[in-house]
């Protein structure tokens, strides 16, 4: 009695059967494992995962989304300027804070809200992973995530300008194009448009264009060095503004990501760090800060025990 048996996933069933059948005569002598490994692989592209560990690179977003059913709670802090002197304990006396929630509606679509102490701003965003980097047949070289955010400044003003709701709003549109070159190195490019309904001077542009670049280099399995830079297109660059530069260090544990960084931007939403950065990174206008993210599974994948 000669009965070789085979068990396989639905997708590979047909190919493996043929593969195994063609060589049945030699089956008894050959190494079975080698036979299995020679079987053609399923012709589906394999997604590249974990391009970045955090949902934020440093100030700005990464291409990552939390995944279906996952709620991420983000706490971000930036202390005051390092060069503000001993009286302010080198900036630690003046923290700004942002609290945010982001929820993965699907693996690709995320909705988020946040509140910053700076400008008492509320922000909301939609983030969609349009393309996903993959390997194998019909491989996609990059991951592309689209982001649309709006921010509402709710400060009370004493000037005589009428602050209507539209005047308090700012919109940001961003495309993030990222590639994971190796398990350690990922690079991301972010063309960005910030539209401000109200600007300080008549000569200032309402639309500010910026090109961001950033990336991570892993140092160990769970730590990485991150860089982020937003170059403002000179023709639309508002007066007295500087490009945002940030250097960070990520520590990843089970359900948390801790991100420590220094940056010349004090704000943590696009509108603030792209169009309101005035600090000079190299003259000590540095804000030390951290982001902390905690993920909660709100809706687990189906078919698993609770």
């Amino acid at each position: 009695m000669h009965l070789p048996f085979t068990r396989l996933g639905r997708r590979v069933a047909a190919t493996l059967l043929v593969g195994a059948a063609a060589s049945t005569a030699a089956l008894a002598q050959d190494d079975l494992l080698n036979q299995l490994e020679q079987t053609p692989q399923p012709a589906a592209p394999e997604l590249v995962e974990a391009t970045f560990k955090g949902l934020r690179l440093i100030n700005g977003h990464t291409v990552q989304t939390p995944g279906q059913g996952t709620l991420a709670f983000l706490i971000s802090h930036r202390f005051g300027a390092l060069n503000s002197g001993a009286y302010n304990f080198f900036g630690l006396d003046q923290a700004t804070l942002r609290l945010g929630f982001e929820y993965g509606v699907t693996d690709r679509l995320t909705v988020g809200i946040g509140r910053s102490s700076m400008e008492k701003a509320f922000d909301g965003f939609l983030k969609y992973k349009a393309l996903r980097q993959s390997t194998g047949p019909r491989a996609m070289p990059v991951t592309v995530t689209l982001l649309a955010t709006s921010a509402l400044n709710t400060l009370r003003f004493t000037d005589n300008l009428e602050r209507t709701l539209p005047r308090r709003l700012t919109y940001t549109y961003q495309a993030m194009i990222a590639r994971k070159f190796s398990p350690d190195l990922s690079i991301q490019v972010m063309p960005t448009l910030v539209h401000r309904n109200l600007v300080a001077r008549a000569t200032e542009p309402n639309d500010v264009y910026a090109l961001g670049v950033g990336g991570r280099q892993k140092l160990t399995k769970r730590t990485s060095l991150n860089l982020e830079y937003y170059y403002l297109v000179p023709s639309t660059k508002p007066y007295d503004l500087r490009n945002s530069l940030a250097v960070g260090f990520d520590i990843e544990t089970g359900g948390h990501v801790f991100q420590l960084h220094v940056t010349n931007s004090q704000g943590m939403i696009e509108k603030q760090f792209i169009t309101e950065t005035r600090g000079n990174f190299f003259k000590g206008d540095l804000f030390f800060g951290f982001n902390m993210a905690r993920n909660f599974t709100v809706r687990a994948k189906e078919g698993f025990r609770k």
């Binding site: 009695m1 000669h2 009965l3 070789p4 048996f5 085979t6 068990r7 396989l8 996933g9 639905r10 997708r11 590979v12 493996l16 059967l17 195994a20 059948a21 063609a22 049945t24 005569a25 089956l27 008894a28 190494d31 079975l32 494992l33 036979q35 299995l36 490994e37 079987t39 399923p42 394999e46 995962e49 974990a50 939390p66 995944g67 279906q68 059913g69 996952t70 993965g104 693996d107 398990p183 399995k221 769970r222 990843e252 544990t253 089970g254 359900g255 993920n295 599974t297 687990a300 994948k301 698993f304 025990r305």
Partner: protein, 161 residues
């Protein structure tokens, strides 16, 4: 194929339906290949950690097993009785090969071979590091359950191209 890890803090469970296997009842040889990335977890984040931090599935995309069936009674199997068998062989996970012995059951039903096995694996044996911070979340010994139904690859089908 599925595995469980139970600890005080959390239960981790994952399943894969993409494993491939060949069992040769004549020579008693057994072979399994499981793509690591095919394991599905309850939580997206667990799946990501599993692939990136623990199994390094970009570096080690597959787990394999190559073994030999012991004490197989072919006649009893042909009669449709469930057979307790022992398999001894090399389990390859995360770049490390270890010799293991696995208890299992075989049963022939309507031309299909049903395979059941339940065994344990210690991540530490395969060079899978678990950082101190999450050591309480992950069991030292992970249980593995294997349920497979194998189709016969007969001589007749071999004749067809």
């Amino acid at each position: 194929m599925s595995f469980f890890s139970t600890s005080i803090l959390e239960d981790i469970e994952a399943r894969s339906e993409q494993s491939a296997a060949l069992i040769d009842l004549q020579s008693g040889q057994v072979a399994f290949v499981i793509p690591i990335k095919s394991f599905q977890f309850k939580r997206t984040l667990m799946q990501e950690h599993f692939n990136e931090n623990y199994m390094e599935s970009e570096k080690y995309p597959k787990a394999t097993f190559k073994g030999q069936l012991h004490n197989l009674d072919r006649d009893a199997l042909a009669k449709g009785q469930s057979q307790q068998v022992q398999v001894e062989g090399d389990l390859f996970i995360h770049g490390v090969t270890k010799r293991v012995q696995v208890q299992g059951a075989l049963e022939l039903q309507k031309g299909n071979l049903l395979v059941h096995a339940f065994f344990s694996v210690a991540p530490a044996d395969y060079g899978i590091e678990i950082p101190l911070l999450v050591r309480e979340n992950i069991a030292r010994i992970v249980s593995i359950k294997l349920v497979a139904s194998c189709e016969s690859v007969s001589q007749i089908s071999a004749a067809k191209p």
